[in-house]
């Protein structure tokens, strides 16, 4: 694991990372948008002479539903190989942002690039590189686990001769080999999430996008899902972009996080540096949590805000939770 020498706090939260890891190298205290990590890409990770494009780069991303500005000028860059967390309360614009990145929502050309491919002009190329797990439970309960994964192998053009092997491996990687031929209707919430992970993995994506992967899960299942994400990332070196409103998870598992509120990125850095910066500003010894950082960045706005997700947001979240429960 290569760490940048200027990193003030060398203890990163990622525990097992044999894969090359890119750590952000912004100066401590730098918050705000458009931060690009520089210089920390290990030389072994890139073929000599070639500059690895960022997994995601997005500039001035805006999206409105009618008069509601869900995403209001987001700039961020996700480096290849990192676990990047997009944090914020319900209605902060995380899901809309991720839907723009997945080509689900139309964006103007030049605003979003995935591994150098424009999300507006090269939709199919972008889709081939991403594995997307939406917030809702998206596995089909009237099929078996194996059939669910095989469908996605087919939709990503995995050829027949390697299909069975890939499907079996993806199921094994998430610990569902034994339950593969059971109907998904009999799965628990955590198992369904892991199945969805397998569905995304079967096409060997370079960027895994997870929208609230642990929403509505009990703590044990949450840990299980994260352990699989971490292990798979370590084994394949894929980039992971995850949205969550659980600050503790982001603190523990993400290399860098962007704090979103009211459609904008309010702060972006490693969790350690965000916390260290807050401690310095406050000047006391109490170690702040990421949630403290969030409250500090957003200010009193958080409690006063009435935009805590519209009816559809809440309904979707609750429905997911009740299907998992």
């Amino acid at each position: 694991m290569t760490l940048d020498p200027v990193t003030p706090d060398p203890v990163t939260t990622v525990t097992v990372t044999p894969a090359p890891l890119t750590t952000g190298t912004m100066t401590p205290g730098t918050t705000g948008t458009g931060a690009v990590p520089t210089g920390a890409v290990p030389t072994g990770a890139v073929p000599t002479g070639a500059v690895a494009p960022d997994a995601v780069s997005c500039h001035g991303l805006r999206y409105s539903f009618g008069r509601t500005r869900a995403v209001d000028g987001v700039d961020l860059t996700v480096a290849s190989g990192e676990v990047f967390g997009l944090l914020g309360p319900n209605g902060a614009g995380k899901t809309t942002a991720i839907r723009c990145l997945t080509t689900l929502l139309p964006v103007p050309p030049g605003t979003v690039r995935v591994f150098g491919h424009d999300a507006a002009r090269e939709r199919m190329a972008v889709r081939r590189m991403i594995g997307y797990v939406p917030q809702q439970l998206s596995a089909d309960s009237s099929l078996t686990g194996r059939e669910n994964v095989a469908l996605f192998a087919r939709l990503f053009d995995v050829r027949r001769r390697e299909r069975a092997e890939r499907v079996a491996l993806a199921l094994e990687a998430v610990g569902l080999a034994n339950a593969a031929d059971r109907m998904v209707g009999t799965y628990s919430g955590g198992m369904i999430r892991r199945l969805e992970l397998a569905q995304a993995l079967v096409s060997a994506p370079r960027l895994l996008m997870l929208d609230e992967p642990t929403i509505g899960l009990d703590p044990i299942a949450r840990t299980g899902v994260w352990e699989h994400i971490t292990a798979i990332r370590a084994a394949t070196g894929m980039t992971v972009l995850v949205t969550t409103h659980y600050m503790d998870e982001a603190d523990q598992y993400c290399d860098r996080v962007a704090l979103m509120h009211a459609g904008r990125v309010q702060a972006l850095d490693t969790p350690e540096r965000l916390k260290a910066a807050l401690r310095d500003r406050r000047g006391d010894d109490a170690a702040p949590t990421l949630e403290d950082v969030f409250r500090d960045v957003v200010g009193g706005d958080l409690d006063a805000s009435e935009e805590g997700g519209d009816f559809r947001d809440v309904r979707r979240t609750r429905r997911t939770a009740s299907r998992l429960g």
Partner: protein
């Protein structure tokens, strides 16, 4: 669009091998463009067959209604002899109409499944696969066709049990399958288009209920066009169901029909339906 993604960091290959994930490291190559559509249609149809294999309840319960039409309506009107069928027993005349009707009933409510898939997140995920929207809609349309085909087979058997002498010529049966598939593609796309407009299950149910009966009674499924009042003839002339029934009658009973026109109309209707549904699918994605 077809630029190959750059290679993965080589360092990760070893750790992947340790976990036995090596085959999962290479992104599958894109298929040549012209193969994408048949591949997606195949994948969607296969899923529909798998679902039918796991749960056949729908197949059985859906057989009740056509059975009642044939048994009660068919047998009664055979005795009344009120409908001029051109010398064919009325039950024989009715059977192709009921095949078409029951296939249409399945297809016309297929949009409900799209709305369910949208609410559950399945659709979102399908839309992020390298599948153009038209290919996704075509896949869904033919998946609905597979379901209708099963239903048609059930009604065919029912009719035979009731003593209707239908053809068993394999070529003609292939033609029947083609007509059912094309018509179902049209009706399911009509349903998906309405789903794209109304966006909720309840509204779609309402619209579906409102249009199925006019489509059915405004066709030649129950009686020949000749006995219709003029305004109903116009409805029948623009109703794809009429062309499907005409084709089925010609193929199954050998009565005079306009097969070429029928298939041309069904093809055009299916193409138009797929185009409309593909354009409206975006509304469901938001």
């Amino acid at each position: 669009m077809s630029v190959a993604p750059a290679g993965r960091p080589p360092a990760s290959a070893e750790s992947a091998a340790a976990l036995g994930l090596a085959p999962l490291l290479t992104t599958p190559r894109a298929r040549p463009g012209w193969l994408v559509l048949p591949a997606r249609v195949g994948a969607m149809c296969l899923v529909e067959l798998q679902k039918l294999r796991h749960d056949r309840t729908e197949l059985y319960t859906r057989a009740v209604q056509p059975a009642l039409w044939l048994l009660i309506f068919g047998e009664t009107f055979t005795r009344i002899r009120a409908i001029p069928t051109g010398g064919v027993p009325y039950l024989d005349y009715l059977a192709p109409g009921i095949i078409a009707q029951s296939a249409m009933f399945i297809a016309i409510f297929y949009g409900i499944m799209i709305i369910w898939e949208r609410d559950s997140g399945v659709l979102t995920k399908l839309l992020v696969t390298p599948t153009p929207r038209a290919a996704l809609v075509t896949g869904k349309a033919f998946a609905a066709g597979v379901k209708s085909l099963m239903q048609a087979a059930v009604v065919l058997v029912l009719a035979t049990l009731l003593g209707v002498s239908l053809t068993w010529n394999p070529l003609r049966l292939l033609g029947v399958a083609a007509a059912v598939l094309l018509a179902s593609a049209f009706f399911s796309c009509l349903s998906m288009s309405i789903a794209g407009i109304v966006l909720t299950r309840d509204r779609l149910m309402g619209v579906g209920q409102a249009i199925t009966m006019p489509l059915f009674f405004g066709s030649n499924a129950l009686y020949p066009v000749d006995v219709m009042p003029d305004w109903l003839r116009v409805v029948s002339a623009v109703n794809p169901l009429s062309y499907q029934v005409d084709a089925l009658r010609g193929l199954l009973l050998g009565t005079p029909s306009h097969l070429l026109l029928d298939f041309l109309v069904l093809l055009a209707a299916a193409a138009a339906g797929i185009t409309a549904a593909s354009c409206l699918l975006g509304r469901l994605a938001r």
